[in-house]
């Protein structure tokens, strides 16, 4: 008796009854399934999506890509209809403003256009826009609603804190991404263009310096720091990745420096500062990162994946309500 009074038990009991009832109904054939609504994707719509693809990529979509474009069109339409059914359109600031400014344009009301929504204090323009069915035909309205609907479907799934196990799995699945990049420790000596009369001069000055016997920077760090032209750039750098070198010396110098041989002077290597002689002390290969080093990024990744999965699930459910007809192509069915 005590058990039956506990709220949890009552909840479970109620749920079990519901499920059992539903199953029993389903076995008997159940109540009439609601007739599936037809969702028609116009041929012109598909053509527009294909044209946009061509404009973006410079080539025609292959069969798989074409199918993805059509599926994308179907999903957008489903989200759009769902947003309208939930009344998001009637209550969205961006949609309102768009409709009012459309109507002002139609009415030739320049002042109303400039002041957009603020001038429609009576709401007349907005009512006219709705009466004309503008809500259903306007692209801006449509994509705003699709966006809002998408966020509504994604939101709740992303919220809970991911478990340790989920995080570990995500890291294991993305070994290439969660990696400490290759690092090099270098010293560099700079010969400036201005001091040597251009790029070629700086290169020649670097070669002369090398020929004169520039010492090993590990043994003679001060002598190396005093070689070349004075600058505010560091001579001896810590062990770091290509990205870090690029911050100081530019991308092309960094790319060249990471692949130089270890334990001798190389160069000249050009940068925006001039010509450099470079000594690589050591190189450490890339290594995988432990979860704790990337917890924030992985948490975000898991959340995004969950949100996407929730959206896919919700769309699957919504799709089952429609009979999809793609004009100028084979019916896509419900799936």
């Amino acid at each position: 008796m005590r058990v039956a009074r506990s709220p949890l038990a009552r909840l479970l009991l109620g749920g079990a009854l519901l499920v059992a009832g539903e199953r029993a109904l389903a076995r008997r054939g159940g109540p009439e399934q609601p007739a599936r609504e037809t969702l028609r994707i116009a041929a012109a719509h598909v053509d527009a999506a294909v044209r946009a693809f061509v404009a973006r990529t410079g080539r025609s979509p292959d069969e798989r890509e074409r199918a993805a474009l059509v599926a994308g069109e179907v999903d957008e339409e489903i989200l759009y209809r769902e947003a309208l059914a939930r009344g998001l359109g009637a209550h969205d600031a961006v949609v309102q403003q768009r409709l009012v400014s459309n109507m002002a344009f139609v009415a030739g009301d320049e002042d109303a256009r400039a002041g957009a929504a603020a001038s429609d204090a009576g709401g007349a323009l907005h009512r006219d826009a709705l009466a004309l069915g503008m809500e259903a035909s306007d692209l801006v309205v449509r994509r705003r609603l699709v966006d809002r609907m998408r966020a509504l479907l994604e939101g709740p799934a992303a919220a809970p804190e991911p478990s340790e196990q989920e995080l570990e799995q995500a890291v294991a699945g993305e070994r290439d991404r969660f990696v400490r990049p290759e690092r090099v420790r270098v010293s560099q000596v700079l010969l400036r263009r201005a001091a040597a009369g251009g790029d070629a001069g700086a290169g020649r000055a670097a070669e002369r310096l090398l020929a004169a016997g520039l010492p090993d920077p590990a043994r003679h760090p001060d002598a190396v720091a005093r070689a070349g032209d004075p600058s505010s750039l560091p001579t001896h750098l810590p062990l770091q990745g290509e990205h870090d070198l690029a911050r100081l010396f530019g991308a092309s110098f960094a790319r060249a420096a990471v692949s130089l041989p270890v334990g001798r002077w190389s160069g000249p290597v050009a940068s925006s500062h001039g010509a450099h002689l470079v000594w690589v002390h050591e190189r450490v290969a890339a290594e995988p990162l432990p979860l704790d080093a990337v917890r924030g990024q992985v948490t975000e990744l898991v959340r995004r994946r969950r949100a996407r999965a929730a959206l896919v699930r919700a769309l699957d459910g919504l799709r089952a309500r429609y009979e999809v007809v793609v004009e100028g192509g084979a019916p896509e069915g419900a799936g």
């Binding site: 527009a48 999506a49 946009a52 973006r56 069109e73 957008e76 998001l88 209550h91 969205d92 600031a93 961006v94 309102q96 403003q97 400014s101 929504a117 603020a118 429609d120 204090a121 709401g123 306007d138 692209l139 801006v140 994509r143 705003r144 966006d147 939101g155 400490r180 990049p181 690092r183 400036r192 201005a194 005093r226 004075p230 600058s231 505010s232 750039l233 560091p234 001579t235 810590p238 062990l239 770091q240 990745g241 870090d244 911050r247 100081l248 530019g250 991308a251 925006s272 500062h273 001039g274 990162l289 704790d292 080093a293 990337v294 924030g296 990024q297 948490t299 975000e300 990744l301 959340r303």
Partner: protein, 664 residues
Amino acid sequence: MPVRDVGNHPGRARRAVLLIAATALVAARAAAQDATAPPQPRPAFARTEQRSRCDHYDPLRRPFFGDLHVHTAFSLDASTQGTRNRPRDAYRFARGEEVGLQPHDASGKPLRTLRLARPLDFAAVTDHAEFFGELSICETPGLPGYDGPTCMIYRRWPRLAYFLINGRASGTGSNVERFRFCGEQAADCLAAARTPWREIQEAAEGAYDRTSACRFATFVGYEWTAAPDSNNLHRNVIFRNAAVPKLPISYLDEPTVTGLWRRLDAECRRGVEGCESVVIPHNSNLSGGLMFQTTQEDGSPIDAGYAEARALAEPLAEIMQHKGDSECAVAGAARDELCGFEKLPYDNFGGKYSRWLRRAPEPSSYLRHALGQGLLLEEKLGRNPFKLGFVASTDTHLGTPGAVDERDHPGHGGAGAPATDSVPLGLSDDVEFNPGGLAVLWAEENSRDALFAAMRRREAYGTSGPRMTVRFFGGFGLPERLCAEHDFVARGYADGVPMGGDLAQPPAAGGAPRFAVRALRDPGTPGRPGTALQRIQIVKGWVEGDVVREKIYDVAGGPNDADVDLATCTPRGHGADELCAVWTDPEFDPAVRAFWYARVLENPTCRWSTRACNAARVRCGGDASVAPGFEGCCDERYPRAVQERAWTSPVWYAPAPRATPSGS
């Protein structure tokens, strides 16, 4: 030895300053005694975070380039013009990924895309905190208040609602009321604000690189949007780490700036363990002279308490961004031929939209004026409320931090045009606006703690977009031939103070301070080298009786033969890869307060509008040919070429008080 970063607490701050000063002094002495010893690292920052030390850690500091002013779809004035990028998209963009820009076609694909040629090192999304909650309630059917009349007005006329709310707070700015649908004590709106605020924090955490590679750092932040009578008093609030208040303190919660500082102190520093903030005012050029007035909000003169609170809360200001430059007035006190850069022709938002409200900006709207007023106030009160270092940023409303390229500038949504379904004809933004600038911080590494410490000590500079590297030191003991030495940076720190610092007292034997400044041109990207440098200037301000004097000195480089072919935008003439100078102030008076900052100028290049107008084949003048939307091309108030630049934070000098200070 690590020294705690200067906090918001007066006592703690003073102790920390003393400790830093003492440590620096010891280091300087040690260096002077043993010139061959390698220079000692400066006092480091305190670590408040769980994270790895960066591989690139450098005790002599490196410049990190970022954007501290970024709006996304969470800002109403961004979403009504079709911005769909959310905070995580903004961070993706800052890290070098491509994002879509409005407008979008029928299938939701953006008609424009954008990618940075070089990723940023750090960024902070700073959406308008006003309406975080109201937006959620008014946009989520089922929440209490959703069907109420205010939400209906709000949904239907968002801009009207925006102005109404700001209008309520005009004048005294003391009685901003929450809408009634927000519930008792605005509880419902505050609860609803948690969702966007949480997403903002999650996006910042997700994009923050806590590994030793330190590729990218983020800050949680927001914008406090005060604009009484359409005078801009906006400020960005940036938090040191993930410890932030439960909710942002918006203009609706706190309509006075003193209240904002007080609430941040109560709800951040004292309310959440590990929470610290900096407040960064911006667009003083649109403040109608109010941003740096010498009275408090109730009209009474600034007193020592106000000066102290302001100095602690606001160590930095935005000197330039998408909506113009705030450095100096063209008609200011000093002869300054190069002041005329990205100036707006009106001094508040009212003046932009209404001819009747349009006023030419006064010097009081600019930072150089504020620095001078700060000296006068310090003389009177013992504390300088306007001790401001400089950063620049974009203020993008498209969620595109760091999009500062003058080439193919897609606008930043400053024009605020409502959403459309095709790329509008004409210039991508109002002609008086520009692509904005970058914030540069000198830090040991690219981590939140190190960057935040740089903001606190003002070791920061702003650029109008390019990534030039600028070192600036002041000190009485700096060697005259420092530019020819190989340890410029180490000596600079050992024998002087960096940008943002205070000069020590002059040596007993007398002497004038020297300033060592060195600039490297922007290395650019492969195939697109940066522009050569033209000159470095030092801007000095000092007190003479109760007036402030200003003077500008060319200290390296100078007028040259460089210009730009306006038809093709090809640069012509010569410039420098690097400029360096050690300059001794010829008019130093040890009895008067002063500040000095450096301004580094590139050779002339085409302004963004010139590039867009050329691409549209616009011709002005007699045989004019101007396509619709390109009328701004022929507006002669806006120059065709610009000299991009960097502004360092100042170095200050104050004579030692004559009497012994009573207590410390």
